[in-house]
Symmetry: C2
DNA sequence: GGATAACTCCTAATTTTTTAGGAGAAAAAT
DNA sequence: ATTTTTCTCCTAAAAAATTAGGAGTTATCC
């Protein structure tokens, strides 16, 4: 899977959150200062080229949707993140987060219960 | 804390792994194709500007060391990662990793035991 | 039905990141 | 002691990422 730059990813997050989007709608959902219409258009074209979005005509305007699932991308992203920062080890990341108080022992135990129930 | 670009971070990882480094030593530890001496020099200068390394003269040559701890940087990095991909929630990342089989229930239980022992 | 607005496609300016060359000083080598 | 190597500092070319303008087309609005 191709990598996304920060700006591309920002657009993509909006597409993922919204099913079908016109360029116009994406611009609207961007945080201020909102970029020009054509700026978003350029990124959407780049995303199309990378296979992340597809388009179809609705009336006389293109509407865009995600062609790669957010989960698939996130998984890929985490793999890269793990390998560059935690020697590829999810355990190391996990331990780090507990030690650095991003996650408490109690939280983990609660979550484990819930996750086991869903098995 | 300032952000690092990919190339800057790559240099920084080498500095973190080695206490005190001459430019020459950093070049040696770079993966092939090794960059030019001056390329590494430029990045070190950028890192100095961002406050990530300090230098001191040894003989007539500068030697560089990390001025920001790797842990501090990683923590910061994870915060950014969490907020852009998991709404800032470490729990969500944790659940995601278990669900996506990056971490198994057994692994987590083992790790929890070890972490509790170290408390 | 001419002006105004919306969209597409192409192109390019700007900014950021990455890479490295050149000049000069200092040290080492033969 | 002059050639060769090494390091520093300054500068800038090359590549990648970000931003957006302009021309043409079609739709919309008085």
């Amino acid at each position: 899977m191709k990598e996304l730059t920060k700006a591309e990813e920002q657009i993509m997050q909006i597409v993922w959150a919204n099913e079908k989007m016109f360029i116009k709608d994406i611009v609207e959902q961007m945080p201020d200062p909102k970029p020009a219409y054509n700026t978003v258009g350029t990124f959407i074209k780049l995303l199309e080229g990378k296979g992340f979005v597809t388009r179809e005509k609705v009336g006389n305007t293109f509407v865009y949707s995600a062609a790669v699932k957010k989960k698939a991308y996130t998984k890929n992203f985490i793999n890269g993140f793990l390998s560059s920062h935690f020697e590829g080890s999810a355990e190391k990341l996990f331990s780090f987060m507990v030690q650095e108080k991003k996650l408490s022992v109690d939280q983990v135990e609660d979550l484990m219960k819930k996750l086991k129930d869903n098995e």
